[in-house]
């Protein structure tokens, strides 16, 4: 699937139990663009990604991915959209502990009532594993893997549905500096090969090279981007 453009307009979100409020007046990403969002801890980077993926609903404003206004979809439709069109890489990777590497990669197909698990999907999983150098991990459980290996499994899972948008929330947070560079390079390569739009949240300045744009969130909250 080709990359999708992302538009955020007048976004306001507030957690009910906190005084914190996230405001993003405007953010535009063209299809296939790769951007990094930075900022200090607690400034709302993860919240922005969760709003962009439809995990959270804004108090006001809109999030549009391609032709779909995600923020106005009901919960079930948002989940369905996320599963089909958005690849997510989490800081803690969020692998299911009792599934092996292959089943974790194929997880979107196991839980979806829309996506069909075909031989082509299995072949794609093999190919992704081969490209990321984790073929030997397909039969292993996450407990037997290193952090870097789990990260690559999580990346393969994010790409298996051929999403138009990849959202990566500090995916290198638990890796050492050498592996951080390797992981981000892999993310760039895979997103580029898939033609997907990429947003990565990080607070590591050393990882910003290679992105089309770098947007500090505090600036994003006050200015249009």
């Amino acid at each position: 699937m080709p990359g999708v453009a992302l538009q955020i307009r007048d976004l306001v979100f507030r957690y009910t139990t906190e005084r914190f409020a996230l405001r993003v007046p405007r953010l535009d990403l063209s299809a296939g663009e790769q951007i990094a969002i930075t900022g200090p801890s607690g400034c709302g980077k993860t919240t922005l990604l969760r709003l962009a993926s439809g995990m959270l609903t804004p108090e006001s404003g809109s999030v549009r991915a391609g032709e779909t206004v995600i923020s106005s979809l009901p919960e079930a439709a948002r989940r369905q959209f996320r599963l089909r069109h958005i690849g997510l890489v989490f800081q803690t990777f969020e692998l299911v502990p009792y599934l092996d590497g292959r089943d974790n990669i194929l997880l979107p197909y196991r839980v979806s009532s829309e996506l069909r698990l075909s031989p082509e999907v299995h072949a794609r999983a093999e190919a992704l594993a081969d490209q990321t150098g984790i073929t030997h991990l397909l039969a292993q459980s996450p407990a037997e893997m290193s952090q870097g290996e789990r990260q690559r499994i999580a990346l393969c899972r994010a790409l298996i549905t051929q999403p138009g948008l990849i959202l990566a929330d500090e995916p290198t947070g638990s890796l050492d500096p050498q592996n951080q560079q390797r992981a981000v390079a892999l993310l760039h390569d895979q997103a580029r090969q898939a033609g997907a739009t990429l947003i990565m949240v990080t607070h590591e300045p050393s990882l910003l090279a290679g992105f089309d744009r770098h947007l500090p969130l505090p600036e994003l909250q006050t200015a249009s981007a």
Binding site: R82, E94, S112, S113
Partner: protein, 395 residues
Amino acid sequence: MNGNLAGIFYLGSRHLARQRGRVVLLVAALTLSLFLPLAITVGVNAVEKHLRARSVSTPLLLGAPGSQLELVFNALYFNKPSVPVLPFGVSREIARETGATVIPIHAKFQARGFRIVGTSLDYFRFRGLAVAEGNLMARLGDCVIGSGVAKRLGLKAGDRIVSTPEQMFDIAGVYPLRMRITGVLRPAGTADDQAVFCDVKTAWVIEGIAHGHQEANQQASSAVLEADGNHIALDSSIYEFQEVTPENIGSFHFHGDQSEFPLTAAIVIAPDAKTETILMGRYQPGRAKAWMHRPGVAMEELFDTVFRVRDFVVAALAVVGVCALLIMGLVFALSNRLRADEFRYLANLGAPAATIRGLVGFEAAFVIATSAILATAGTLVLLVAVPRLLVHFAV
């Protein structure tokens, strides 16, 4: 949006495989909680049905004063040998005065672990027993064996079986009698399959009331201890026959008054209801020298007690089952709490809520369904097996 059933099953089964030890324990606990009350109910009902059939088919039972239930178990199921004995004369008196058919039962002794039942040929007609091989007993010392005895001991018509002495060191007590097997009964699925039947007189021989020995006048004078007219006392060198043969049958004789010879019970088949009522009145338990009972009523009282105990046990097991369910609920709740992160991951990925709910309930559903299937299967097996076992063991 619907959940993905195949996915729920796949992921659920993967999780169960990881937790198989716990799942096996939960299934075992719930299966037992469900199965035990069902098994007890099924087992007791099957035994009751089986025992009731034999008791209600026996109209009246005469016995010495004593326990009604012990008498019924002695005369109907041959498994209570130590009951007070009834004088044979009482049964003859009833037959003579009322025209009732009175079938003597003498069920005290054993042969190789099987009850020896001294009776008359009327017993076989009354119970509808027929020989599968050979004939019914024809003379003193003959016996007919039940199908279970024949199968267990590998005996057939023409073989011999020896009665078991009751006390090894009591040389004046029950004498081992070698009986000739004249026939093997067809399987009846009752206690008759596990018994050795002989004429009541043969049972008296075993008891030592009758015996056969060498003629006294053939003995050397040294064996004669005392002789005066018709009475002669001999020492222990005289040979007492242990088997009745055509050659020695004439020497077998009884000592004492036959009307006082012991029976453990007598089955009474009155010619009509009026006679039956008269007999019940005349031999009312607690008021006569012999007591008349209706076995069906006696067993009914036993069943009432058994059912009360059964209900209590089933109720207790039900409480244990409810406790097991509550503990299981707690285990599932704790398990799902431990899996909260996993369910959150799935929701983050975009898994439909129905799929996540399916996964939350999968383990409980699997354990409950598997336990229910196992308990039902076990109960169905019992429903088929218990009646067969009762017939096999001829209770």
